[in-house]
Amino acid sequence: MAKHNQVRRKLPWKSQVRITSRTIIGSLALLIVAGLYLAVNGRVARAGRDVLVLQNDRAEFQRQIAELTSTLAELTTPQHMLERALELGYQPAGMGDMLYINIDGYVAPEMFEAPLPPSSTSDHASSLSPAYTETLGEWLIRVVRPRGGGVQ
């Protein structure tokens, strides 16, 4: 024992190297875990941001569609069409101008069918893959126990 202490005093760099190397190994391990965590979170954040952007885009497109639909409807109202026809030199036909002609094979226009409104989507159907939401711990558990559930 006394001999060991004597060696340490004579060679202090040995214990310093040992402490330093252990610290570096520990730090490296921490850095690896932190890096992994950061990488996963970075992907999650990027995917989340993509989701937010896409949702905003969808909302914006829906607003644009609504605006254009309304404009189109205004341009095709009977009053607007009548004004356009008058500008082009047409006149409304009176009873004396009209002649009923029976045309064989004429088929009246089909009944209008309105578009279906968008259907509801549930939370379950629209949930994200766990790959984007799970914690590192949850991921480890999933890897260790693969039967517990896979990534969608």
């Binding site: 999650v44 989340g48 989701v51 949702q55 109202t77 009548l82 009246a108 578009p115």
Partner: protein, 607 residues
């Protein structure tokens, strides 16, 4: 004891540095948690974390029968302010930009931006504008203004609008403007539908809002679920016919200087309302002025809904001579008279102690029942009701025609009208005589149309309706015609149609349409007041249908208080003619002689 060598001194310095850093972080944490800006941070945290958020689905669209859009949703935006993001410059420049772009008073906007909202715990406010003495409404901007402001927010050279946010708020828009305004109703700023179809189908159109947990930071983002959307409605209304009818109604009101009027066009075989025009019109895009004319404040519309009347379903009136159609139909169906039966008109009859006279006070001598209808003789009809039918039978038929009972039309605000029967404590024998020619009984235009529609439809009375299809996410539902009753037999209906076709020829030529045989009856009704009947004003009306061999339409015209002439035969009958002249072309109805030729050709082919 720690040696005082160089490496250990370095370690101590490093430790001290880390302690300083940790202390600083601790102080900052305490400041965030309890400092003066703690509420701001709390708001940020609340916004960043998942919070419950109500998602309102898009309101269902309304189409006419050919797919023309009648009601849609357009994007508008509320202007909101993130109070703690405001700077002295942005306060001035937001007020200046909005004042110039939206033509709003700068001082009012600036005062809102300068108020100490934080002291009352508000960190996000919605800018408002003054609309009355004590009333403020949120400012809304359209897509164009929104795009301009977004451009400013992104451009570093543009005015500083820090703190200004634009929050989407869909607004109901009616592309056809005033067209069918009363029928459609409107949607207020809170998204609730009132009157007309918007009121009647409000819960269906609005859909079901859902509450979701919404994350605002990227890792918490989710695909948001869509709430169950409101249904789309396809109406029975034909927008081209509606436009034509409204144009004609507007013109007749101008020409006759009348106060108001309605024209309703219905398919008697299905009960589908093809057009429902009401003047003065309601602009659902700008309903506040109309509400003012009705004496209702815009923010109190929900409390006073019953005070505002849709004249077609809620505007009851004493129908006058058009009601004689029902009296005569009842008498013929009961077998107490035939069209050829004669009656000696002396110009006066006493029923229940009340002397009833004809519209011109004259005596018309011997008349057949057709003549009674042709000359619209009050005395003759009072005789038929009181001496041939009798009260029990007469009122049984009126109830079968749905008088005194709502039709159940799918438009908000329908009233049942008023009919006093012998069961009523105030009923007198005189009522029988006056009811026979449409006095002392009140109906709505839709109610009268449905009742007379039974005669045009072989005795089957159908429920008037304006929705042809209800389209939900799972598919479309087509309501079938609802039979309200069979007040008279098919034979009676045929006899009545023939009778009214003949009587119309003699009553007025102003309702004739070349090439088509039509049936109908004019009406000139006095207006009851608290001091008896008004001696100046009348309600001129006409109800008619055609072609008599195969009725495709029934039209009711009602003109209130015309100045040019009080008579239905002068004011309302030409309106019927104008409508039918256009209607036969729009509905592609062949003239009678062409119809006969086509029928003959088909018969030959079959042989």
């Amino acid at each position: 004891m720690i040696p005082n060598s160089l490496p250990y001194r370095r370690v101590r310095v490093l430790l001290a540095f880390m302690v300083v850093i940790a202390t600083a972080m601790l102080i900052q944490l305490i400041r965030v948690q309890f400092g003066p800006y703690a509420p701001v941070f709390a708001t940020w945290v609340e916004a960043a974390n998942e919070i419950d958020n109500e998602v309102v689905p898009e309101r269902g669209l309304i189409y006419d029968r050919d797919g023309d859009l009648l009601a849609t949703n357009v994007p508008t935006y509320y202007l909101e302010i993130e109070v703690f993001q405001l700077t002295p410059t942005s306060r001035k420049q937001i007020a200046a930009v909005l004042s110039r772009a939206l033509i709003l008073p700068y001082e009012d906007l600036y005062a809102q931006l300068m108020a100490d909202w934080g002291s009352i715990g508000q960190f996000r406010i919605r800018l408002t504008r003054q609309v009355g003495v004590d009333e403020r409404w949120p400012i809304t901007i359209d897509q164009v203004a929104s795009d301009m402001l977004k451009g400013f927010l992104l451009d570093p050279e543009a005015p500083d609008l820090s703190g200004l946010k634009m929050v989407p708020a869909p607004r109901r828009e009616y592309p056809a403007g005033r067209l069918a305004g009363h029928l459609l109703g409107f949607v207020n700023q809170e998204g609730k539908g009132f009157f007309g179809l918007e009121g009647f189908y409000d819960s269906w159109l609005a859909g079901k809002p859902i509450t979701i947990e919404r994350g605002y930071i990227p890792p918490e983002a989710r695909l948001e679920p869509d709430p169950p959307a409101g249904v789309n409605l396809v109406l029975t209304i034909d927008l081209d016919i509606q436009q034509m009818v409204e144009d004609i109604l507007r013109k007749v009101l101008e020409d006759s200087s009348a106060e108001s009027g309605q024209i309703i066009v219905m398919d008697p075989k299905t009960g589908e309302i093809l057009a429902l025009a009401i003047q003065p019109s309601l602009d659902p895009n700008n309903y506040e002025p109309w509400l003012e004319t009705q004496g209702v404040e815009a923010d109190k519309v929900s409390e006073t809904e019953e005070l505002v009347i849709n004249p077609a379903v809620g505007g009851q009136f004493e129908p006058g001579s058009t009601f004689k159609v029902l009296t005569m139909a009842a008498a013929i169906d009961a077998g107490v008279v035939t069209p050829e039966d004669e009656y000696l008109d002396t110009g006066v009859i006493e029923v229940g102690g009340v002397r009833i006279r004809n519209w011109n006070g004259g005596a018309w001598g011997p008349q057949t029942m057709i003549g009674c209808m042709q000359h619209s003789l009050n005395v003759c009809l009072a005789y038929v009701a009181s001496e041939r039918l009798g009260a029990p039978l007469f009122y049984k038929y009126l109830e079968a025609f749905g008088i005194g009972r709502g039709t159940g039309i799918d438009v908000a605000g329908e009233v049942p009208g008023q009919l006093r029967t012998p069961r009523h404590p105030e009923w007198t024998e005189a009522d029988l005589g006056t009811n026979a020619f449409g006095q002392g009984v009140s109906v709505t235009p839709v109610q009268l149309l449905a009742a007379v529609g039974a005669i045009a439809n072989q005795g089957v009375m159908l429920q008037p309706h304006v929705v042809r299809a209800v389209v939900g996410p799972e598919g479309a539902y087509y309501p079938k015609p609802t039979v309200l009753g069979r007040p008279i037999s098919a034979e009676t209906a045929e006899v009545m149609t023939s009778m009214l076709s003949q009587s119309l020829d003699g009553e007025t030529t102003l309702a004739h349409v070349n090439g088509y045989e039509l049936a109908g009856k004019t009406g000139t009704a006095q207006i009851p007041t608290e001091r008896g009947y008004d001696d100046r004003w009348t309600i001129a009306s006409f109800v008619g249908w055609g072609p008599v061999v195969d009725p495709q339409f029934i039209v009711l015209v009602r003109i209130d208080k015309p100045e040019s002439s009080p008579w239905g035969s002068v004011v309302a009958a030409p309106v019927f003619r104008d409508v039918v002249e256009r209607l036969v072309a729009m509905l592609e109805i062949p003239p009678d002689h062409v119809r006969d030729q086509l029928a003959a050709a088909r018969t030959e082919e079959q042989q």
